[in-house]
Subunit: 298 residues, 2 copies
């Protein structure tokens, strides 16, 4: 049976490290602060935003959530971002995705000052990542996957990492992070997706298989090489009459059969999920340090 | 024997298309213009810069080369870039790489106004490419490889493209271009490099194999699947006593043995090389159009 990679535990360790850093910064009179912008009533977005606020609080990071009605105009949103950019007390700005359809999300992301872009979705930070420069920010979920691998003893160095999914939030940036000529990276990286032919043949060549497709239990046992490390980024609702809610949460991997042959696997929930918020906290502290010109470890 | 992919011919077609566009723009009183900055005496750089100027001239694009001595200071270079950014007659700015060691090349590239960054090395444009947005520019050599494939009838859609090399100039951006959910892309992409284990096994899984390592004749027959399409981005000098110059130019692929089993192959020279300049011309005209708000085809 596969070893379980405990994302909750690893994320907790990182959050403790962040809390230590925050204490040291506060001793110098510096208070890291994250501003989260939420527009509309998407229930999942509300949950995520609440979790982010709570995580900030627990690690000593100041945070505020600016909540706007669905009817918010692009102009008002633009003015809000400009105000947050200009406020020296605010170190990180996060606009919760998705925005209502009448708003231009890309335009809004490009307005965020790259030094406050702790979600790392601004093209400038994406380009820094792609080029392997370390003076930008790394997006939270993919860098969380890298940390999860490193802290559970499965370094991607020299390994063949196959990523199923090419989204801008997970698949593409994860491939870019892991292919870099850098410690903790140096992987051979393959991206697969809906247009890939012979998908099982390619996924079976993976030493580390990452599923980020958004389809429940898409990765079956036949698609996994025995002994592979399997990282499941998916969070899907599956109808389940036995559950009070009427659904259960499933990953992109058929957990039970795959865990019989994998070397290690992340559960859903409790795998990649908790890492995303831990990395957001880390980015916020990094943003704060950069804005105050304070080196790490000081 | 493999079909030869004739980069000179395909590049010539593109240059003719560009020349047509330039004529139409000039009919409207709009004159595309490229400024090239050359610092120091690197012989290869001088040749490249001369070729770029000549190509501009032949397609009707205005161009100037600003030549500075090796001793140029960072401040002077910065002032030059700022002046070119501010000049509305200049549509494209290209700083020939490599710069002398005392100059900070990354800082200079980041100074170029992204809308004039026809080399597409500014992090903002790299990020646009990575995210699959089409309002940036695509770097000349990798998008030249894509054009070469499409115009010779070897669409990458659904194919497994293996790229050997992870440079910021070729390997990484090429993977990003070909993996996008877009017409002429949609490939399954694998990046290999110096840290890849079992390299021959992975290269043999390629439907399209791209060599961009910078090592003469590194890709041998044993590393290629019979029937694969082989794209050779390498330009290497190999000592050759039989030659007047004392060297010959070789690609990254062992041409003769590989061409016995490949479906198609690019020669060196005359394959990818001519495409790079053709794409630079195309980017310059695109930059001109964007700066004048003129749609394609008008």
């Amino acid at each position: 049976m596969a070893k379980l990679i405990d994302g909750r535990k690893i994320a907790e360790n990182i959050r403790n490290e962040v809390a230590d850093e925050v204490r040291r910064l506060k001793d110098r009179g510096v208070n890291p602060h994250l501003s989260v912008v939420l527009v509309g009533d998407d229930p999942a977005s509300k949950v995520y935003v609440r979790m982010k606020g709570k995580a900030c609080q627990e690690t000593g990071i100041g945070s505020e959530t600016l909540i706007f009605p669905e009817s918010l105009s692009q102009d008002e949103l633009v003015r809000t971002i400009r105000r947050l950019n200009a406020d020296p007390k605010i170190n990180g700005i996060l606009v919760q995705s998705p925005l209502p359809r009448h708003l231009d999300e890309h335009a809004v992301i490009e307005l965020i000052d790259p030094i406050k872009d702790v979600d790392a979705f601004h093209p400038y930070n994406v380009g820094k990542l792609a080029a392997g420069f370390t003076d930008g920010y790394l997006p939270c979920t993919p860098v969380g996957v890298q940390e999860l691998l490193l802290r559970s003893g499965y370094s991607p160095e020299g390994k063949h990492v196959v990523i199923v999914g090419r989204s801008n939030i997970v698949g593409k940036p994860l491939g870019l992070i892991l292919v870099q000529k850098a410690k903790g990276a140096n992987a051979t990286v393959t991206w697969c997706h809906s247009r890939t032919r012979d998908l099982p043949e390619i996924t079976r060549s993976a030493d580390i298989l990452v599923a980020a497709i958004g389809q429940a239990e898409f990765i079956t046992r036949e698609m996994v090489k025995p002994g592979a490390v399997v990282i499941d980024v998916g969070v899907n609702r599956v109808p389940d009459e036995a559950s009070d809610k009427g659904y259960r949460i499933a990953g992109d991997v058929a957990f039970d059969p795959v865990s019989e042959i994998a070397e290690a696997i992340t559960p859903v929930p409790g795998g990649v999920g908790p890492m995303t918020i831990a990395m957001l906290l880390r980015n916020t502290v990094l943003a704060c340090r950069r804005q105050h010109g304070i080196e790490k470890g000081v």
